[in-house]
């Protein structure tokens, strides 16, 4: 019995920590309808600023806290300037992607400057503890709680009773109307970002002190949990964010209690999905509010797709097939083969995100399912890859569509968050389902590619095989796009309300799109498994998902050629410039930022 009390206290303590992040996220969302994916990076930067103050500069704690808040507030203003303001006219997905790019840049910069090692952060607080049941509350726990509650209270008063607070709420309700009324909307956004990021940075320092450890990689996980708490509490709802965080902490704690530590994150994302499906507007909402406006539809800038003459395409494809004869280096051939595999993922994503408008942030999970399916079938049952790879495609299509189906009723940001959550869940399930997937050990000894008895071990034969599969699936996708399905999908993307009014069942066609995409990605994953001969749950993770999105945006959302071009550009080129390896993530982040800002239609901008 006392154990459950312990779990509850522990859950509340952890929830307390999430609350500091979630409140900042809620504030930013409330005023600008933006999920700030760079929030975790700000949190991390705050930790480092505080660390610098405490250790290198030897400043006392209150000064360090102040410096952290101010430093991160300034960073917040910069993020607003880069990530939000120039993208005001664009569709809502653009700032989301911009903040993802910013987070990549910040994380990598921190790693380059400070090195990847975790550092201890001294905590110059009195070391007393309070024992409640079996759980111990330390001085830092109470400080964090005080700051969390205090910040929420101050924000509440600020938003309710001050002029700037009213301006913030007005801007949140209706930016244009507020501007008409004389509100300096840009200043309001800056103020909000400053406050929210200041709070985020402060929480980074506090958490760093709490666990006596900060490192450049701590931001991403923080962002994920913050987003879950944000959604559970209701997007934009500041007190809700605190409630959501506490609930998240509790659910995680009970999940660990029931199933074990490695299930913590799984429970967090299952909570996310449960809310998305049953209560997308959060804990404190009524359910019958009409859903928000669609996220895409206007992301594609109103410029025409670049038309490439068929002759050119045929020539390029012929060149691609001929390439192995031109270069003796099997390294180049291998690199391009990897590019073709990612091309299959990009094909899949450009269909789903571009043509149908479902911006999926978890697409790499489809590669993972395909890889595992093909690997397990060939390792456990001894079936030949010529059979297991297509099967893997079908299995991925089925599982992927099934998992994502409940999220079809969602629009806008919610779709992206849902796909992010589903992607994480798939990875965690693969990790934890030992008996099927061998858990963290992964699958070794996956047989190489064989085609009807003829083994493809040479780099060249693998290259041609993969390229052939890619070309085939690309042609099929083009055919689909030109058929009635293509216009139906695009209608759903443009305006699903109007589409429904004319008999289009969005769920059916979204499912078809995910199934077709799942097939391509699953086949890609299957080929990869036989190529790599070893896979585990981290082989295709969330970073690959974001990378896939960058590829697809680079190539032009919806464009088949663009998808392949984007894949080659972002997978194969960095390989050839390996000296830039340290900076790879940085470069991806910058590319994403530049694309979103200056050329959202990418290279071939299709519709």
């Amino acid at each position: 019995m006392t154990a459950w009390f312990d779990y509850t206290i522990n859950g509340l303590i952890v929830g307390n920590i999430y609350a500091l992040l979630a409140v900042g996220l809620a504030l930013i969302f409330g005023v600008s309808h933006l999920i700030n994916f760079a929030h975790g990076s700000v949190y991390m930067v705050g930790g480092f600023i505080g660390w610098l103050c405490l250790t290198r500069l030897g400043l006392p704690l209150p000064v360090a806290l102040l410096a952290t808040v101010v430093g991160c507030a300034l960073l917040g203003i910069v993020i607003e300037r880069i990530g939000l303001r120039p993208l005001q006219g664009a569709a809502r997905i653009a700032p989301l992607l911009a903040t993802i790019g910013i987070s990549f840049v910040l994380d990598q910069l921190a790693q380059i400057v400070f090195g990847p090692d975790p550092r201890p952060v001294p905590s110059p607080l009195p070391q007393w503890t309070l024992s409640i049941g079996g759980a111990a509350l330390g001085s830092l726990d109470l400080l964090i709680a005080a700051i969390g509650v205090g910040a929420a209270a101050v924000l509440y008063v600020f938003l309710r009773f001050t002029r700037l607070g009213w301006a913030v709420r007005a801007t949140a309700q209706d930016r244009d109307a507020a501007q008409q009324m004389g509100v300096n909307v840009n200043a309001v956004n800056q103020a909000v970002f400053a406050i929210a990021c200041g709070l985020g940075g402060l929480s980074g320092l506090l958490v760093g002190m709490y666990y006596n450890s900060i490192d450049p990689a701590m931001g991403f996980q923080a962002t994920l949990k913050g987003v879950v708490a944000l959604l559970v509490g209701g997007l934009g709802n500041v007190p809700g964010a605190i409630a959501g965080s506490l609930l998240l902490g509790l659910v995680e704690s009970y999940g660990v209690a029931l199933f074990g530590t490695s299930y913590r994150d799984l429970f967090a994302f299952v909570l996310l999905l449960a809310f998305l499906v049953w209560r997308p507007n959060g804990l404190f909402s009524s359910n019958r509010r009409l859903p928000p406006e669609p996220l895409t539809g206007t992301f594609l800038s109103n410029r025409r797709a670049v038309r490439i003459p068929r002759r050119v395409i045929v020539a390029v494809v012929a060149l691609a097939f001929a390439l192995p004869f031109a270069t003796p280096s099997s390294y180049v051939v291998q690199t391009l083969t990897n590019g073709w595999i990612y091309g299959l993922l990009a094909l899949s994503l450009t269909l789903v995100a571009g043509t149908v408008g479902q911006i999926s942030l978890g697409h790499a999970a489809l590669l993972l399912i395909g890889a595992y399916a093909s690997a397990l079938l060939s390792v456990n049952l001894g079936w030949p890859p010529a059979l297991t790879i297509p099967l893997a495609g079908l299995i991925t299509a089925a599982i992927g569509t099934l998992l994502v189906y409940p999220s079809f009723r969602l629009r806008g940001h919610y779709v992206s968050i849902a796909t992010l959550g589903i992607g994480e869940i798939i990875g965690l399930v693969v990790l934890n389902w030992d008996s099927l997937t061998r858990g963290p050990v992964g699958i070794t000894g996956i047989p190489p590619l064989t085609l009807f008895g003829w083994q493809l071990t040479g780099a060249r034969s693998v290259y041609w095989f993969t390229l052939a599969v890619l070309v085939l699936l690309a042609l099929l996708q083009v055919r689909l796009l030109r058929s009635h399905l293509g216009r139906t999908w695009r209608a759903i993307r443009e305006d699903d309300v109007a589409a429904r009014a004319y008999g289009i069942r969005p769920n059916r066609y979204k499912a078809i799109a995910f199934a077709c995409g799942g097939l391509a990605a699953g086949i890609g994953g299957g080929i990869a498994a036989h190529l790599y001969s070893y896979i585990n749950y981290q082989t295709f993770d969330s970073q690959v998902s974001i990378l896939a999105l960058t590829m697809v945006i680079l190539g032009g959302l919806g464009s088949v050629i663009g998808a392949v071009a984007g894949a080659i550009a972002l997978i194969s080129l960095p390989e050839l410039f390996r000296f830039a390896a340290d900076y790879r993530m940085l470069i991806y982040g910058v590319i994403l930022l530049l694309l979103v800002r200056f050329r959202p239609q990418g290279l071939f901008g299709a519709v």
């Binding site: 009524s286 025409r304 009635h484 216009r487 209608a491 443009e494 004319y502 008999g503």
Partner: protein, 289 residues
């Protein structure tokens, strides 16, 4: 002018006591509507009267809290929009919702979605699979249907003279506002509707555009199409309607022939002191419900 028919088989839309509440506000309060085949019924009322909400309730975008909607004798209360489309209900939207990045042709082709054999539903999963196969491979029958559809659409667009036909491959967002509204109507007609619901078809149009639209709708009426119309421009309402329904504050305050309604004191009062309803052209309004 058609007399009100008591023959139920001729009544297409039979709406009884539909109600919709948003928290404390009653947007639509026990409204009855009936539209007979071939009739043109207009719904008018001041801003915020609940007209668009009523439309949403009739087209499945929203679900009534109480009441019943019958279409062609069938109970369709709370049915999803796509099912209503399959039953022949076509609508246009208050602010004009064309598919911006699709061509004019594609926009209108979409209108026919509900009635094509190519897109028929079939069994739960197998049917979807079959549709994909059809899209990839197709059959002679499918190609024939497609060709016929394109001919039909071309003919449809020709109704609008030279307004749309030269722009058939342009993306809809590049069209003028008036042309976009025309595309919307063409799309609705492609559905071969049994009833056409028009939500402020001339909103934001100038006099000559409005006159063109009037001619178009009169032409549709002459062909026997049943129309339910929300409109603010009261001279239009007078010329088009067989019957007029007046809503105020969610309640029906008057119903009947256009002239009867025009002189109804309750209606006049609802429009706040206009001595002669219809003497002024309808003002353009800001965003309503």
């Amino acid at each position: 002018m058609s007399s009100t028919s008591t023959n139920t088989a001729d009544i297409l839309f039979d709406v009884r006591r539909v109600t919709r509440r948003f928290g404390g506000l009653v947007a639509v309060d026990e409204v009855n509507v009936s539209v007979a085949r071939g009739e043109c019924v207009s719904v008018i009322g001041p801003n915020g009267a609940g007209k668009s909400t009523l439309f949403n309730l009739l087209t499945g975008i929203d679900t009534p809290d109480a009441g019943e909607v019958r279409f062609g004798g069938e109970d369709v209360t709370g049915m999803a929009p796509e099912l209503l489309a399959a039953r022949g209900i076509a609508r246009t939207f208050q602010h004009g919702r064309v598919f911006g990045n699709l061509s004019v042709l594609d926009n209108v082709l979409i209108g026919a979605h509900a009635r094509l054999a190519t897109t028929r539903r079939g069994w739960p999963v197998v049917g979807a699979f079959a549709e994909v196969v059809r899209a990839l491979v197709g059959s002679a029958a499918m190609r024939r249907e497609d060709a016929e559809l394109r001919e039909e659409v071309t003919a449809l667009l020709a109704r609008f003279g030279t307004r749309l036909t030269p722009r058939i491959d342009e993306p809809a967002h590049s069209l003028s506002y008036a042309n976009r509204r025309r595309v919307e109507i063409a799309r609705a007609l492609a559905l071969r509707p049994r009833i056409l619901l028009l939500d402020e078809p001339t909103a934001g149009m100038n006099e000559s555009e409005t006159a063109e639209m009037l001619e178009l709708i009169l032409g549709l009426k002459r062909e026997g199409l049943t129309i339910l119309l929300i409109e603010h421009k009261l001279d239009l309402v007078m010329r088009l309607s067989d019957r007029v329904l007046v809503l105020d504050d969610g309640r029906k305050i008057a119903q009947g022939l256009p002239d009867e309604v025009r002189n109804d004191p309750a209606v006049i009062e609802a429009y706040l002191g206009h001595r002669q309803v219809g003497a002024q052209a309808g003002r353009s309004e800001t965003a309503a419900a």
